[in-house]
């Protein structure tokens, strides 16, 4: 089946970064031509580091101690200059915001060709070729920032493939995609595999990749500790998967621990948030309606997911609820009291996706005490929150010195300091491994148990299944559906969300 010619091989490779503790220990790994291998495992296990060895970022960009032998298509990687790697490997990174070097789609595609001095006629021909293949023809002159998530992904692929490298290296390509775009990505990848490309991916969301993958390689603490075929992975028991911190390898629309029992208990609770006939416009140059006539209510202790395709207005709705945006019509009430936007500010906490933008103070403890220096019970509350979230030991650290997960928990804690009626979270589990995702689930359950109503903006169906009672579906400028998680309508809605957009 597989051509056994070697594309890349690592022989007893160890690496340690200069600045960080993350490292690789004695890696032996062979990637065959035409193969699709998915690296998975907890964050910080060395997946990205391994990939950086094959696109030249190590040792040319990230410095450190490198031992062992790396071969790339029969050449020793040690002999390759940083720019020469682009002939053999193309790379797609997780965050399209920071991987696009140009503002215009065609410039972005052509960038690697221009750098190595490809002839302009050849560049234009290659642009046409790739654009036709990926149906990007109408977008060639567009601004990359204005594209949808799926379109950005295609541009990133076109840019990586421009100089026709055989090996494609993809670092969590689906982390920021909605369900439909993630399904589109898997079709894109299977096309590339058929064309003879060798694919190496790091990914936590496995269900879309299993039909394409030849092997799933599990990394932990800088070592490769397991390797499965898709069949072997599917055969793992739930307990084994949970122990390894893996996400579900199949697209499930119901689970044993679905929220039905919980939500019945919530029925009689007090209403925390009531949204009634709310309309909003997208702030900016041209005022365009974001959504109209959105109505729903959240009870004390309830956890609701808010989902829908990218650009459906989920973030706009969240901003409106928090009081950052004013409603055009309709009203919002908190605990039975109708409040205008200015008075909602501070009563609904909003934890955004990017933690770095939300941490202001110079210590973990100081972060929680911010603007509350004069409240006498604030230090005690801060201590309790930090203890609950496992951050108390780190209270004197600078927020910037924390790991990604710790930063996220600190942003949670900062939001909870104001004792909000409602907590809104934006994509709290995108790019998280199974173990971290489950700890977010536990956190949400604890918050809800303490009486807060929680609204989670998410594409993550596993999070919906394990943590949420209801799913609110936003699309086409209105609230399309409001359903129980685990119901038949929920399963249908999820499958529909996964359908590709035309």
């Amino acid at each position: 089946m597989i051509n056994r010619e070697v594309a890349a091989s690592l022989r007893d490779v160890s690496f340690r970064y200069m600045e960080s503790e993350e490292q690789l220990r004695h890696i032996d790994f062979t990637l065959y031509r035409g193969e699709c291998v998915v690296l998975t495992g907890p964050s910080g296990s060395g997946k990205s580091t391994l990939m950086r060895l094959l696109n030249g970022l190590i040792p040319h960009f990230y410095e450190g101690m490198l031992e062992g032998e790396i071969e790339l298509f029969g050449r020793s990687a040690a002999d390759l200059e940083s720019w020469a790697f682009s002939q053999w490997t193309g790379s797609v990174f997780q965050d399209s915001r920071s991987q696009f070097f140009n503002a215009v789609v065609q410039d972005e595609m052509a960038f690697s060709g221009e750098n190595i001095g490809m002839q302009p006629e050849l560049i234009r021909e290659r642009i046409r070729e790739l654009a036709a293949e990926l149906s990007l023809e109408n977008l060639l002159a567009s601004d990359v920032r204005l594209l949808s998530g799926g379109e950005k992904q295609k541009v990133a692929f076109a840019a990586a493939r421009f100089t026709m490298p055989e090996l494609l290296i993809l670092d969590e390509p689906s982390a920021n995609l909605d369900l439909a775009a993630a399904a589109g990505l898997s079709r894109l990848l299977s096309g590339l595999k058929r064309m003879g490309h060798t694919l190496l991916l790091a990914e936590h969301r496995l269900y879309e990749l299993l039909p394409i993958a030849d092997r799933i390689v599990y990394m932990e603490n800088g070592s490769i500790t397991a390797s499965w075929t898709p069949q072997e992975l599917l055969a793992l028991s739930d307990r084994e998967r949970e122990k390894l911190g893996l996400r579900s390898p199949v697209f499930e629309t119901e689970s044993a621990s679905s929220g039905e029992l919980r939500s019945e208990g919530v029925q009689n609770e007090k209403e925390r948030l009531c949204v009634s006939g709310v309309s909003a416009i997208i702030p900016g140059l041209r005022s365009k309606a974001a959504f109209e006539g959105v109505s729903f209510a959240l009870r004390q202790g309830e956890i609701a997911a808010l989902s829908g395709p990218n650009g459906a207005g989920k973030s706009t709705l969240a901003k409106l609820l928090c009081g950052l945006l004013r409603e055009r019509s309709g009203f919002v009430s908190l605990s039975g009291q109708q409040l205008p936007a200015s008075r909602r500010l501070g009563r609904i906490a909003f934890v955004m996706q990017d933690s770095d933008c939300q941490l202001f103070a110079d210590s973990v403890f100081g972060e929680l005490m911010l603007t509350r220096e004069k409240e006498t019970e604030a230090p005690a509350r801060a201590e309790q929150l930090l203890r609950e979230l496992g951050l108390w030991e780190l209270r004197d650290r600078h927020p910037a010195a924390l790991s990604g997960g710790q930063k996220q928990r600190l942003a949670f804690a900062a939001g909870m300091m104001g004792q909000p009626d409602v907590l809104i979270l934006d994509e709290p589990t995108s790019g998280l491994d199974g173990r971290s995702m489950r700890s977010v689930v536990r956190l949400l359950h604890n918050l809800a148990a303490s009486g807060t109503a929680v609204l989670v903006i998410t594409h993550d169906h596993e999070l919906m299944l394990e943590a949420c009672d209801r799913l609110l579906l936003l699309g086409d400028g209105r609230l399309q559906q409001d359903m129980q998680v685990g119901s038949r309508a929920f399963a249908e809605a999820l499958n529909l969300l996964r359908e590709p957009a035309i």
Binding site: S91, F101, E114, I116, P120, R124, S142, R145, L324, F360
Partner: protein
Amino acid sequence: MEPEVRSGQSEFGQSSPAGIANREISQVRSRRVGLAFDPRAQLLIVLLAGAACALVPWTGALALTVVLALYLSLQGLWKAALTFLLGMMLLAVAYAVSVSAGVTVLDFVAFMLSLLLRTLPVAMAAYPLGFVPSGRLIASLQRLHLPKGLLIALAVALRFLPMLRLEYEAVQTSARLRGLSASKLKNWRNPLQMFEYRIVPLLMRSLKIADELAASASVRGIEAPGKRTSVYTIGLNLQDYAAPLVFIGAAAAWMMWGTGG
């Protein structure tokens, strides 16, 4: 000046030697139809505007604005041209009033206004450069034999600035939610801290983005030693010679006759 403008417009009707790709950019990307100038010519206009503003009296700066408004309109930026023109006129009126009032307190205001009157035309001349795709800018400036390192730095800076603005907005939103809003008067009791709360998160984000951006450029061979090629066809057309000449002509005419001797 009139004949030059007409010849510029007729030039647009012909197929631009800058190639198909280039025409797509000016029409689709920014949804504006206009004459495309080579970035080198645009840069020269900025330098000329700077020199002229330093040499001519403030009434001359006002007249330069009119010429620059035509230059912007030719490139399809007529909205911006009108805004700049209006801004200059308001500044000029304010300046004239503050000078003629003869009150010493207003001298400082008048001084500041005269400075503004001389910098705004330069900003106006530089404005179209913001619309040039960085690939085209690098390709054009490469012809001036500027060092490649400088060009790349310029391209990174151009790419980084709009990104920084988006990040700043995210920081701002989060600050408002946390009660650190800049519009709350009580938060300004400690302005230094207020500044820190904006700069520190922005710095953290910038470091991360800069790192990722550089890594992305590195894997795509930005360090390749040879000469860089470009998807854009770079060449100087009639308008690239005409525009600076018209500009110099207008400035010279103003200096000779416009000041009224």
